[in-house]
Each structure stands twice: as C-alpha cells, then as structure tokens.
Point group: C2
Chain length 164, copies 2
DNA sequence: CTTGGAATGTCAACAACACTGACTTACCCT
DNA sequence: AGGGTAAGTCAGTGTTGTTGACATTCCAAG
C-alpha cells in the first residue's frame, strides 16, 4: 500500500504501535526516575530540573525563549525560577540591548546540581545505548525526531546544532 | 569513522547522550499531546488515559495489578477509578475465587473513549514509524527496553506477550 | 513626545495528580 | 480465632500546571 516494494509493513500494525506506545510509557518512567530521586530530597521537582537543564544548555537564554522550549505558561515557569534564583542556583541579568529581557545563567551551585542530575540521567542513557548498540541508537533518535511536534523539532534541532 | 578496535564509540559521548535526553523530552511531549487535547474537554487527565489504556489492554485486571503497572499509590489510582466508574466508563466486578479482589473492565462507553484516545496516539506513532522505517523502529524499541527499570521491563514484556 | 505594544513580573484562585499516614471493611488461609 | 492481604476511604500536603487580571519597563512607530 505504501511504496509497493516487498518490505513487510508488519511494523505498522496496531499491535506493534500499541507496543511502541507502552514502551514509551515505561521507558519514560525510567528516564526520569534517577533525577526524580535526587530532587525529592531538595524541595525541587521535575520542572526545576528542566529549567536547570536548558539554562545550562543555552546560558544567557531569555525567559521568553525558555518559555517556548518548555511549553508552559510564564506564571508556571516564574514560580520555578523564583525559587531557583532565591536559592542561589540561577542568576538573572537584565539585558544590555533590551533591558526588559532577563538573561538566565547558572551559578556555581546551579552548575553543581545540574552536573549531579545529568550525570545520573546520562548514566542510564549510556547503559541503554551501550546495550542496544549504535545502529539501534540511530533508529531511536530517528523515531523520536519524527514523533515531535514541528515547533519542538525546531527547538530540538537548534539546540542540537549549537552543541556541536 | 570506525576506529581500529571495531565499532566507533562516538555515540556514547556526553554530547550524544545529552541530545538523546532532549530528544526523549521533546518526543514525549508530542507523544502525549494528542490524547491530552481530547481529554482536556472531558474533565479527565493523563491518569485517566493510562488507567483506561491498561484496563483495555488487560481486561479483568485487578486493582493491585494495575497499581504495579502504573506505579502510583492506591489512593491516587482510586481517585481516578472512582470517577471512571461513576461516569460509566469502567466496571468493577468482585472476584469469583477471591472476593477481596475487584476485576476491572471497560464498558462500551469506556471502550469508545479508549478507541478515540488510542487512535489519536497511534496515528502519530504510525506516522513517525513510517517516516523512520522498520530498522529505525527496531532500534527505537531496543533502546527503550534497555532504558526501563527491570520491574517495568517485566510488566512490559508480560503485556507484550499477552498481546500476540 | 506621545502612545501602542512587547517582555517581564506578580497576585490570586483553581485543578490535576501525585504523595504520606491512618483507618475500615472484607476476605483468605492457616 | 487470628494474621495477613486486597481494596476503599478520609485527611492533609506538595508540585506543577492552568486562567485571569494587573503593573512595570521599555522599544519603536507615528
């Protein structure tokens, strides 16, 4: 039905898709489990982790930019940022060109927590990657990219390219 | 690219792992976006979706079994089940062998909602699978399985095998 | 120079979803 | 009869998300 060649389309059956859905569900639980354990002892939650992750990833990012990446309301992000700033993990600097904007940076303490969190998360990722092998990892990335909403794929690609 | 000792290990660099982490984050957002939109108009949330999904997947499952799969407290699950039962989407039957147990089933209305939700989710999954191709899908599944906690991998495998 | 709009921040109220802890009811099994 | 299991419930709490309303600051266009 698709392109007519003899390749089996069995991987597109409802049963295969359902298994993929369940795999995403269970895997995401594992994906967040280690950082969640660390954060549980700190009054922080997943939202704080996400903010810290992306501020570390793109230092000096504006609040608005972070808002678009995280996909939450400014009120929700602001609550998180306020605690991170008052706890001395994040620094907010008024923009030079546009003084309305606030540019966000991790402090040394913030970077220390970021390292702790991402070390834990990367350890699981590394072990999964190693167990699955490079070809599987390439396929993993390919499917995930195809699953994103287009705007999110844009944010993702921009981050990816700025990192190399 | 491949070094003298066989496979390149470049896919295990911190930068590659970080990209994988961000891919998981953005893809999971897409993964839940379509069902979330449907549920938003119905007083229901993601927790209801998960309960409906797994009751449909394993009809007659007990509350305890569902608890283990979902990894939440019974109070949290009970709140969700109570609304689903009183709204006539789920039916709870006292066990025949063990009358302490409650076996859970979807009603016709429950099945209708399940179909609506999983059609939406499968559509995105199917489009991602089709775009990525069968080999990528195999790798995707392999990495996700390796990322799960062992107990979750057990639940996942049991469900997977009961479905074929 | 005034004014409109953008970016940010703040306050208040609320809902969904998770948690802990304590307790009850019903039941199985030894 | 008693111990342990399955389920349900009540009360309290915390994180994260939402709307809506409003203030401040500032750039830029008229």
């Amino acid at each position: 039905m698709a392109d007519g060649h003899g390749e089996s389309l069995l991987f597109l059956t409802d049963e295969q898709l359902r298994q993929g859905i369940e795999a995403m569900f269970f895997a995401y639980r594992g994906f967040t489990a280690d950082p969640d354990r660390i954060l549980a002892n700190l009054t922080y939650g997943r939202a704080h982790h996400r903010a810290i992750h992306f501020i570390n990833r793109a230092p000096g990012t504006t609040v608005n930019n972070l808002l678009n990446i995280l996909g939450v309301t400014k009120q929700s992000l602001n609550r998180v940022l306020r605690t991170l700033i008052s706890d001395g993990l994040v620094q907010s600097r008024v923009g030079r060109n546009d003084k309305r904007e606030r540019h966000l940076f991790l402090t040394d303490a913030g970077r220390a927590l970021e390292t702790q969190l991402s070390d834990a998360q990367r350890a699981r990722m590394r072990s999964a990657y190693r167990a699955a092998g490079p070809e599987a990892v390439a396929g993993f990335r390919k499917v995930l990219e195809a699953m994103m909403d287009p705007e999110m794929r844009g944010s993702y690609t921009r981050l990816k390219e700025s990192g190399t």
